[in-house]
């Protein structure tokens, strides 16, 4: 597995976690006006287990996890991250700078969610637990979380390609 940490931590600011991700109920994704091109099948790994605290997965392509990601665990992907379970740890999609990468989970409750160089955390205080699968992506320069509508190709920002 390629270690992408040097590519990841190369931004100008102090590396502070600034933005808080916002949830949009029933929103729709960014629909590209261009003709939809085939989404590249970048290399993808599948993990069929739960990631426990202290475990980390780093991969330049997409990462799919059939299991949970516990607090204290980290997933760093150059591509998208899909967790078929509860995401409670740290997920970093688009770790090499791809702002079109997304993070999706059955239960999206990360301690920190990162897409490209956008680092976000949930707002302080109690807020309702997500009840449905959700997907996080960058829209207009901000990390937005939406309900994940099954079968909708609007969930993914089209024309992403990374090799």
């Amino acid at each position: 597995m390629k270690n992408t940490s040097s590519a990841v931590y190369g931004f100008e600011d102090e590396g502070k976690v600034g933005e808080k991700h916002s949830r949009v109920n029933g929103g729709h994704g960014n629909v590209s006006k261009k003709k939809s091109t085939v989404v590249d099948g970048a290399n993808t790994i599948l993990l069929q287990r739960t990631l426990r605290s202290g475990q980390a997965v780093r991969y330049p392509g997409n990462v799919v996890i059939m299991g949970d990601v516990n607090p204290g665990a980290e997933v760093m992907a150059g591509g998208n991250i899909i967790v078929m379970g509860s995401l409670r740890g740290v997920a970093h999609a688009g770790a090499e700078g791809n702002e079109k990468a997304v993070v999706a989970a059955f239960r999206l409750k990360p301690t920190q969610l990162r897409i490209a160089s956008h680092f976000t955390r949930a707002p302080d205080g109690d807020y309702p637990e997500p009840e449905y699968p959700e997907i996080a992506k960058i829209i207009d320069g901000m990390v937005i979380i939406e309900n994940y509508h099954q079968g909708s190709n609007k969930a993914f920002n089209l024309e992403q390609s990374f090799r």
Binding site: S5, Y9, E14, G15, K16, V17, S53, G54, Q55, A56, P71, G72, E74, T111, Q112, F119, R121, A122, D124
Partner: protein, 263 residues
Amino acid sequence: MGEVIVITSGKGGVGKTTTVANLGTGLALMGNKVVLVDTDIGLRNLDVVLGLENRIVYDIVDVVTGNCRLKQALIKDKRFETLFLLPAAQTKDKTAVSEEQMKELTNSLKEEFDYIIIDCPAGIEQGFKNAIAGAERAVVVTTPEVAAVRDADRIVGLLEANGLSEPKLIINRLRPLMVKKGDMMDIDDMIEILAIDLLGVIPEDEMIVVSTNRGEPVVLEKQARAGEAYRNIAKRITGEAVPLMNLDAEGFVSRLRRLFGVG
């Protein structure tokens, strides 16, 4: 120049991390510039107890390996401008840092902060050696239990062998009723064995469970007895002489008296 204080115990689970969080917050409450350093690499908890876990970007291993600057790794507390945390790494283990690196780190921190409080992991191996590497003062935490006192004694011996003479003692989770019944060691028994100066005594308090789970140090809770004990200890660290709290369970009349400031 700041003071580097290590909070250690030997025994696990006696309250080191809770003590670091509360002492640090207590000192910051008094206006001091404080940094808390978590050296329990691989089993980090200080960030959780302070409620700062979702703000971690860089950690102590990133700093000592030069992956980031020290300033980038320091996390400012949610509540206090003068309180900072340097978190441990979770995905590494205690061999990731050396004693030399710890000394360099504490030397840099001394220039910026009044107090540098180091949270030591349980045990006597590399984690412990790293934690005491840059320390000038040591505080040993123990609970009033035979096993804990045994381990504390071992630790006092190791501290003295490493040049940290005259560590101070914190007795945590004392239950005055059990001590009265004779079921629990009392303060004098423990000091007789350990023969070090007492810094403070913290009574068993359910509020600790609530506060560590919520990430809100109990020292901020005016009603909690453990909070009051920690505030007193913070004052004693700065040199103020504060009498020990009366730990007997309060009766209604004595509570009334206390409220009205009488007796």
